[in-house]
Symmetry: C2
Subunit: 135 residues, 2 copies
C-alpha cells in the first residue's frame, strides 16, 4: 500500500471536487445576477469538470473573468471548510463501518429466523440460542 | 454559499473516494494471493464504486469477508493520510491558482507579440512596452 501516492491522489481529487463546488456556487450567484451567463457557464462546464485544472484552463481561454472567479471561490471554500474535513471523514467512516456491520448482523439473524428450513437442526422457533440472536 | 452543506458533501465524497482507494489496495493484495478472487472483485466492483456505502452494502451480501476487509483498509488509510490532506489541498489550490494565472498571462502576452495584426497601433516590434510585456 503506497500511502504517499494515495495521499497525493486524494488531495488532487479533493481539489477537483472543490473546483466543482466553486462552479456550483458561481452558477447559483450568476443565476441571480446574470441568468444568460449562468446558462452559458452551465453548458460550457458539462462533462468538463472531472479534471478541475484542465477545466479552469479551458475556461480561461473562453472567459478569463469567470475562471478567476471560480479560482477565488474554491480557495475561499477550502479556507473555510478544509480544517473540519479530517474529523468529519474520520467520524463518517467509523460510523459507516459500524452501521454496515450492524446491518450485516441483522441480515444474518433474519436469515437464521425466517429461513428455518436452511438450518434443519434449528427448526423449532423456541430454540433459546436463536431467540437470543434475533433479539 | 452554504458552507456547512458543502463541507458535508465534501466529506461524503472523500469517504467514497477512500473506499475506492481501499478497494484498489485490496485488489492489489488479492492479485498476489488469490488472483481468481481479485478478478471476481474487479468484475463485481465495476460501475458500483461511485457511492461507497451502497457499494459496501452490496458487497456484504455477496462476500462479507471482502466487505469487512475493504472497510478495515479504508479506516486504516484514513487514519494514515487524512491529517495531511488540509495542508496538501491548501497548498495545491494556491499553487494551481498561481500557475493558472501565470499561464493566462503568458497566453495574453503571446497573443500580443505573435499577432501584431490584431493590434494595429503596436505593429513595430521595437515597441518598448511590448518588449517589456514579453520579457
Amino acid at each position: 500500500m503506497n500511502l504517499k501516492q494515495i495521499a497525493k491522489d486524494t488531495a488532487k481529487t479533493l481539489q477537483s471536487y472543490l473546483t466543482y463546488q466553486a462552479l456550483r456556487t458561481v452558477l447559483a450567484q450568476l443565476g441571480e445576477t446574470n441568468p444568460p451567463l449562468a446558462i452559458w457557464l452551465q453548458n460550457f462546464s458539462a462533462n468538463k469538470i472531472q479534471d478541475g485544472e484542465a477545466y479552469i484552463e479551458q475556461l480561461f481561454r473562453e472567459k478569463p473573468d469567470l475562471a478567476l472567479r471560480i479560482m477565488t471561490v474554491r480557495e475561499h471554500i477550502a479556507e473555510e471548510i478544509i480544517e473540519f474535513l479530517p474529523e468529519m471523514v474520520h467520524a463518517g467512516i467509523k460510523q459507516a463501518n459500524m452501521e454496515q456491520r450492524r446491518q450485516h448482523l441483522e441480515r444474518i439473524t433474519q436469515i437464521d429466523t425466517s429461513n428455518p428450513s436452511l438450518q434443519p437442526e434449528q427448526q423449532t422457533s423456541s430454540d433459546p440460542n436463536l431467540d437470543n440472536l434475533s433479539s
